[in-house]
Amino acid sequence: MALAKSVAGCDSLIVSGFRDNVRLEVPPAASLEALRKLRSHAGLDLLVDLSAADYLNYPNAVHRYGIWYVLESVETGIRLVVKTWADDPDPRVDSVFDVWRGADWMEREVFDLFGIVFEGHPDLRRILMPDEFSSHPLRKDYPLRGDGERHNFHALSREES
């Protein structure tokens, strides 16, 4: 824990732990630098997971979107969760594409489902939803059953098949 904090070299960090996770909260402006240092100096070379959550109406939430990076070291097995945040309107975070190539698709998925833009990502487009889909489905203000997109297709009858 202390090692990670010193390596990340950032002043405004919050360190917490829950069950067996060690968590580090970093402001978005410093996130790319901190993650780069964690990879090069602390040996956290495996990006296990990268995703986000929408904290709209979450108890005691300060920011709307939280983005987490689960890092692990292959040699030593240490695992660390780094969290940063983004807000409406225009949520933006720096992309870690250059640090871990595995972040490529994971960031595209977060962009697709939440609308968070990753600056520096070379190919940020939708990955799971169709290209012409206009909403971000995993946001809390998007309904589970959608806005009618799933019914909006032409029905083929026998005679025209």
């Binding site: 069950r19 929408d54 005691n60 987490w68 292959v74 990955i127 799971l128 290209d131």
Partner: protein, 407 residues
């Protein structure tokens, strides 16, 4: 953002490509890996650039996870990696039990280990069988499916469903297993090595199979780590990492088994790692079934995390109260308001769930860390420079399950 697929599939610059053309592979294609699409920029038969287009099976699993509680969502999680269903359930409930800080009974842990390893064999049989089928070896596919039918029968004997049994519950299992089930597992174990040897005899030294797989789709160790590969794909490239050994969960700490790795990183290495892992799983199940602890399979009912059995619900007031507490919609579990990430070594790789909880019995956000999604992002890197016929070999070796890819 404005970028569309049309921008991404633009052919790479550079002269000297005389026969440059674009081929659309999928989303409906003979390779048995269902709905994924590849747009290949080709120079004759050589792949210049491969652009995957996915999302043809995106069903909104994670959104459903925000509306279903911890015992209901297991039915959905089952349908993610549909070739090894119980492994997904074990991973999900491992994360939920980490969040709720529940300790499982020894018997439950051992039964879950047996199911996890049976599902590992199940998944690897399909992966190797389908990889062989894509390359034309139909008989190996049939042999593999025959063994899978036996595992389906074992599933059915324990739970009533061959497939997607939704067997695990928070703090325990749906129901305990009986001696007949143990007998079935033993007879499966007796017959499995012979069937495994049959498949090996068909493929391991087969000239055509080796020519089509050796040296194809090479993934180096550094690339594997940088691109977040896990499971057999990473182990075949020399990354010695297996969560059953590195971060033991369930009863794995007490079990003696080896982690199978290779250094080549090509399709043949991935196939051989899977075949060998099946034998290791066989060893684990053989030990576990003989050392199955007795005792209850659900953790302590007084903690109000697990449903009590039916008899106590009808015959005692405590059982009735516990049943009520777990079923009424305004009660159920009260997890802490926090978030946790926990993962297991599923047959395809590291399957983990990042659960954000707001104190309600439904997760606020239930994120799946999908191994197939990450492995498919390796594909453009692996396929560059190879020919169209290698696409089937590489896809088969990565074992992409479309439902886990898209969720």
């Amino acid at each position: 953002m404005g970028l569309t697929l049309a921008d991404a599939i633009a052919p790479p610059d550079g002269s000297g490509h005389e026969c440059q053309w674009t081929l659309n592979f999928g989303p409906q294609h003979p390779a048995t890996h269902t709905t994924l699409r590849l747009v290949l920029n080709l120079d004759g038969e050589v792949i210049l650039k491969a652009t995957p287009d996915i999302g043809f099976l995106h069903s909104g699993f994670e959104k459903l996870g925000e509306h279903l509680d911890f015992n209901q969502y297991v039915t959905i999680v089952d349908r993610m990696n549909y070739v090894s269903p119980v492994a997904n359930e074990i991973a999900w409930h491992h994360s939920v039990e980490t969040l709720l800080d529940i300790k499982l009974t020894p018997r439950c842990q051992m039964i879950r280990v047996i199911f996890a390893e049976l599902m590992r064999i199940h998944d690897h049989l399909l992966a190797c069988g389908a990889a062989a089928l894509d390359l034309g070896a139909f008989t190996a596919f049939l042999y593999a499916f025959n063994q899978r039918e036996l595992i389906n029968d074992i599933n059915e004997w324990a739970t009533g469903q061959r497939f997607h049994p939704s067997y695990t519950r928070v703090g325990g299992l749906q129901r305990d297993v009986d001696d007949d089930w143990i007998g079935r597992v033993r007879s499966f174990l007796k017959g499995f090595p012979a069937a495994h040897a049959d498949i090996c005899r068909l493929l391991n030294r087969n000239r055509i199979f080796i020519d089509r797989c050796k040296g194809i789709g090479v993934l180096t160790r550094e690339e594997a780590i940088n691109r977040s590969a896990t499971g057999p794909v990473a182990r075949a490239s020399g990354v010695v990492r297996d969560l059953r050994k590195n971060r033991p969960y369930l009863a794995y700490e007490a079990i003696d088994f080896d982690v199978v790795c290779s250094q080549d990183g090509d399709c043949l290495a991935r196939y051989l790692v899977r075949m060998e892992e099946m034998l290791e799983s066989h060893k684990i199940i053989a030990w576990a079934i003989e050392n199955l602890p007795s005792g209850p399979v659900n953790s302590n009912v007084d903690d109000r995390m697990v449903l009590p059995n039916q008899l106590s619900v009808y015959r005692s007031i405590e059982g009735l109260i516990h049943h009520f507490e777990l079923n009424m919609t305004n009660r159920k579990w009260q997890p802490p308001v926090d978030e946790v990430y926990a993962s297991t070594e599923s047959p395809n790789g590291e399957l983990g769930f990042y659960i954000v909880s707001n104190g309600a019995p439904e997760a606020w956000r239930a994120r799946t860390r999908p191994p197939s999604f990450i492995h498919f992002s390796l594909f453009p890197h692996l396929a560059e420079g190879h020919t169209v016929s290698d696409v089937a070999a590489i896809l088969g070796s990565l074992n992409i399950i479309a439902a886990e890819l898209d969720r």
